[in-house]
C-alpha cells in the first residue's frame, strides 16, 4: 500500500447471487486525485464504486470477499457503521436527486442529522458549502425556494454542495453529468478538478473525453475484471492492453 493511498482494494471479489460481478480486484486509489472508472455497461465499474461506501449492502444476495481499506482500515471488517462511513465517503448520482425541500434545507440536512442545531452554525455551513461548489451567488437570494425548481445542472451542483456539507474525505460520482447539457457538464468537471484539492474523487463515466480531461488516474473494467490502470495521460495516448485500446477508441463496448 503506497503512502498516498486513500482506498485500497485487495483481492476483492463481489457476487450478486451466482453472478461474479467483481473478479479479484487489486487497486489503490490515491488521495486528492481524481480516479476515473471506465468500461462498458455491466463491466463492474459502478459496482466497484459502490463497494467504496457500502452501497451494495442494500442489494439482496450480494456477497463480498477480500479487503477494502480506507486509510488502511477495512471498511467491511471494522466497527465503523455504514452511516459513519458514508459521512466520510459521500456520493453523487447520475440523476440529480435533491430532496423535495428548499435549497437551504437540502444543504443543512446532513449537518442537522449530525446534531448541528444552531441556526447561525447551519447558516454558515450552507453558505460555505454553496460557495465551495460555486453557486452561492446564484442561490443566495432564493435559499428558501424549492430545490426542485432548479435546472438539472443546478440541482446536481446543489447535490454536490449537500455532499460536501458533512465534510467528507472522499466524493464518489456515478456518471454525474450524463443527464446534463454540455455547459452544466463543464461546470461539474471544473468543480471536480477544484474539489480534488480537498477531497479524493472517484468518478464513473461513459464519457472518454471527460475521463481524459479531468482524471489523474484511469481504471478500465471489463466483465468484472480490472484490465488496465494507469496515469490518464498515458492510458488515453498509449494504452498497454489491446482491449483498453479497442474500448476507448470506440471499437467495442
Amino acid at each position: 500500500m503506497s503512502e498516498n493511498s486513500k482506498f485500497t482494494a485487495r483481492n476483492l471479489n463481489l457476487y450478486y447471487g451466482d453472478f461474479h460481478a467483481l473478479k479479484n480486484i487489486n487497486f489503490e486509489i490515491e488521495a486528492n486525485k481524481i480516479t476515473a472508472l471506465i468500461g462498458p455497461s455491466g463491466c463492474g465499474k459502478s459496482t466497484f464504486l459502490k463497494t467504496l461506501n457500502r452501497m451494495n449492502d442494500f442489494v439482496e444476495g450480494c456477497k463480498i470477499e477480500g479487503d477494502v481499506l480506507l486509510d488502511g482500515k477495512d471498511i467491511y471488517k471494522t466497527d465503523m457503521s455504514a452511516i459513519e462511513l458514508r459521512q466520510r465517503v459521500g456520493m453523487v448520482f447520475q440523476q440529480p436527486n435533491p430532496f423535495p425541500k428548499s435549497i437551504y434545507e437540502n444543504v443543512a440536512y446532513g449537518p442537522r442529522i449530525r446534531g448541528i442545531k444552531k441556526k447561525s452554525e447551519l447558516d454558515e455551513i450552507v453558505e460555505t458549502s454553496l460557495r465551495e461548489v460555486g453557486i452561492w451567488d446564484e442561490f443566495k437570494d432564493r435559499l428558501h425556494k424549492s430545490a426542485l425548481g432548479l435546472s438539472g445542472g443546478q440541482q446536481q451542483r446543489l447535490c454536490i454542495a449537500r455532499t460536501v456539507a458533512v465534510h467528507p474525505e472522499v466524493v464518489l460520482m456515478d456518471e454525474p453529468t450524463s443527464a446534463l447539457d454540455p455547459i452544466s457538464t463543464m461546470k461539474i468537471e471544473d468543480l471536480a478538478v477544484e474539489m480534488k484539492k480537498k477531497y479524493t474523487i472517484v468518478i464513473v463515466t461513459h464519457n472518454m473525453q471527460q475521463a481524459n480531461r479531468i482524471s489523474d488516474t484511469t481504471a478500465f473494467f471489463l466483465l468484472g475484471e480490472l484490465i488496465e490502470t494507469g496515469a490518464t495521460k498515458d492510458l488515453f495516448l498509449n494504452p498497454k492492453n489491446k482491449k483498453t485500446e479497442e474500448y476507448i477508441t470506440g471499437r467495442f463496448g
Binding site: M208, Q209, L237, N238, E245, I248, G250, F252
Partner: protein, 231 residues
Amino acid sequence: MGTRKGYDLELKEINDRVETMGKQVLLAIDRTIIALEKMDVVAANAIMKNDALIDAMETDIEERCIQIVVKQQPIASDWRRLASYMRMISDLERIADNCSDIAIYIKKLASLKTVTPPAHLGEAFSSMRQMVADMVEAFHNEDLQLAEKVVKADDIIDELFEKNVQEIRDAIKADTDAIEQYLDYLFIDKYVERMADHVTAVASWISFITKGELNIMFTDRYARESKDNPQ
C-alpha cells in the same frame, strides 16, 4: 469490433494518402537527381510544376485530419497517427519544395559554363534519396528499425555536406571565374542537407505511431556549433 466502420475507413484512407504523398516526394527527388545530372531545363520546369500536386496532397490530408478530429475525437493510437500525419506531411511538403528550389539552380547552372560538380554531391543526393525510400517503406510496414536507420543516416549527410563545402571552397579558389556556378552548387548542397533533416523528422514520427514514444529527432548541429570553444 467493427463498430466504427466509417471512421476506420477514413483513417485507412488518410494513411494511404500520406504514403502516396511520400512516394510522390520520392519521385520528385528522382527527377531532381536526373535533371541535375543532365542539366535538363525542361525536366527542371516539370519538377517545379509538379510541386502544386504535392501541395494539394498536403492540403487534402490536412483537411481530412482536421475533419476527422472534429467529428470523431480520436484518442490513443488513432490520435497518435493523426497527430503524426499532420507533422509528417508538413516535412514531406518541404522536401518537395527543396526539389523545386534545386530545379531553379539547375536552370541557372545550365545557362552558365559547365564546371565539375563537388565530388560528394552525388553521394549526398543518393544517400538522402535512400533515406526517403527507407522512410516510405518504414511507414508502410510500421518498421521501427528501418525508421531508426533513417534517423541515423542523417549524420552521413551532414558529413558529406561539409566535404562538399570544402571542395566548393577549394574550387572557387582555383577558378574565380566560376564563382557563380560553385555558389549554385553550394546552395544545392545545403538543400540536400535540409531535405535529410526533414526526412529524419518524418521517420522519427513513426516511433510515436508504433510505440507512443515522442522522440522527435531535431538536428544536434546547433548544440554542437554553440559549444564555447576555449581555444
